[in-house]
Amino acid sequence: MTDTTAATWLRAFATAVLDAEDRLTALDQAAGDGDFGANIAGAVRFTLADLDALAAGAAEDEVISAAASAFLDRVGGTSGPLFGLLFQEFAAATRQAGGFTTAALAAGASAGLAAIQRVGEAEVGDKTLVDALSPAADALSALPDDTPLAEAFAAAARAADEGARSTADVRARRGRASYVGDHAIGVVDPGAVTVGLLFAAGT
């Protein structure tokens, strides 16, 4: 597919999250406080409603902005605003690039990662969504700008999934999972898993 649009991507992401909700709840329960599934599912439901409400010919960056404000302004927890910051940067990069392109995706991922780290202070290896987003951003930056968007998403998804898997091996040092010590070992981080879903949704 080369006809990934911001709207198809975000709707596919929403479907994937709603399908995975129970699994994400279980992961956050094993190593956090159990609300991740509800938080992120609530967020994508708001996003779907906001997408439905959007005018027919909305520009790609406006579509992504709608997701950003759904996450930032209507969803609490840790994950809500962090994903919101990421969408905000995707929207800005898309506006800048004049379209939802591979270059915009790459630039948005890097800027989003930076924003998330500024606010949340997590490094790679702390067992957070940064462990998935950082390699995904790297993979996207390494792609030529003319890579088809769906291929770029696929590359990012591969890197994110690998990053997410790596979170199983470590103790968390950030977020709620940091309190549970060795209980978190063997459990992948739900935020990192969701970053994988986000990129896979564009393929």
Partner: protein, 332 residues
């Protein structure tokens, strides 16, 4: 099928807020969108608005402490999820005084992030805003935990003291200084003999063998990785007391305000029995128990457990503790 008397985790929060506002219409007002509660009759002497908030599931914290002599506003998030920044922003705008607004934030990443985003928006609007971060939980005092100690039971004590200080007309800097002093002098420790029921799954959030307690549990059911036999309650309480006093470096003759706090399912009888042992353990160490609150004030849904908190006090702080306040969960 969740055993809670609520149609869904979201209904649990939303119906509770609606019923809370109905039951306490003389004390608080609810703004359902974006979701915050304000005090009807704060003291006219206040120049700084006091705002707190956090995930729901810890009631009566924080909304129960909205009222005269206490908080001006509280922002309840979904169950165990911090409020979103728009709640904090709107609540802060609604109650900011001429001297600005003070955020009382428990040290969790989500709370920090959302309050921080709101603070940026407030400053952008020209409203002075500062924050006191509560980090009292000794169970998370570890080099392995980059985020530092969690904020738990002592939050209730802090809110009372700051509320009384705000009523004296203290300015933002003075309140921050006071708040940081109280936080520095506060420690808590919690244990559970059974997890809370997850509203999402209807099942216990974790399993414990019978007769074991999770030593150092968090108020969202975060496990500590340390279990021990429940054994004699007096022994358990003595060990917990030792950790509090050790972490505070309390010397004999020093005075504390204490909180014996139920986490949800613990009965008043158990809490008072625990207090009996706590008072004895403090006396053994020569610490003066100046004031105590026994009750379930910072809960974790229906967790079977309790926390002990101690806050170093002096004549000034004790007077703030004794100052009148009228909120749904605090009358004195």
């Amino acid at each position: 099928m969740s055993p809670y008397f609520a149609a869904s985790p979201d209904a649990l929060v939303d119906d509770a807020l609606a019923g809370f506002a109905l039951a306490h219409a003389d004390l608080v007002r609810l703004v359902p969108d974006p979701g915050y509660v304000t005090a009807v009759a704060p003291a006219p002497t206040r120049v700084v608005g006091l705002v707190s908030g956090g995930g729901s599931g810890h009631e009566p914290l924080h909304a129960g402490f909205v009222g005269a002599g206490l908080l001006d506003a509280a922002c309840p998030g979904r169950v165990f999820a911090s409020p979103h920044n728009r709640q904090v922003y709107a609540a802060s705008k609604a109650v900011a005084g001429p001297g600005g607004v003070l955020h009382v934030v428990k040290n969790y990443t989500g709370d920090k992030i959302n309050f921080a985003i709101a603070a940026e928006r407030l400053q952008h609007d020209g409203i002075r805003c500062a924050r006191v971060l509560v980090d009292d939980d000794v169970a998370t005092d570890s080099a392995d935990i980059a985020v530092g100690r969690r904020g738990t039971g002592a939050t209730a004590v802090l809110e009372k003291l700051l509320g009384a200080a705000a009523d004296t007309g203290a300015d933002l800097d003075a309140l921050v200084a006071l708040g940081e002093r109280v936080v520095a002098g506060s420690r808590s420790i919690a244990v559970a003999s059974a997890a809370h029921t997850s509203p999402a799954t209807g099942a216990p959030a974790f399993d414990l063998p019978a007769g074991e307690v999770e030593y150092g549990v968090g108020i969202h059911g975060e496990r500590s990785g340390r279990t021990r036999p429940l054994g004699e309650v007096a022994d358990l309480v003595r060990d917990m007391t030792g950790e509090l006093l050790g972490s505070l470096g309390l010397a004999p003759g020093e005075r504390v305000i204490a909180l014996v706090n139920g986490l949800g399912r613990t009965t008043p009888m158990e809490l008072y029995g625990i207090h009996r042992h706590f008072a004895a353990a403090l006396a053994d160490r020569g610490v003066v128990l100046e004031r105590v609150l026994v009750g379930s004030v910072v809960t974790a849904l229906d967790m079977r457990g309790f926390s002990l908190s101690a806050t170093r006090t002096d004549d000034g702080l004790t007077a703030l503790w004794d100052a009148p306040a009228t909120a749904p969960a605090w009358k004195a």
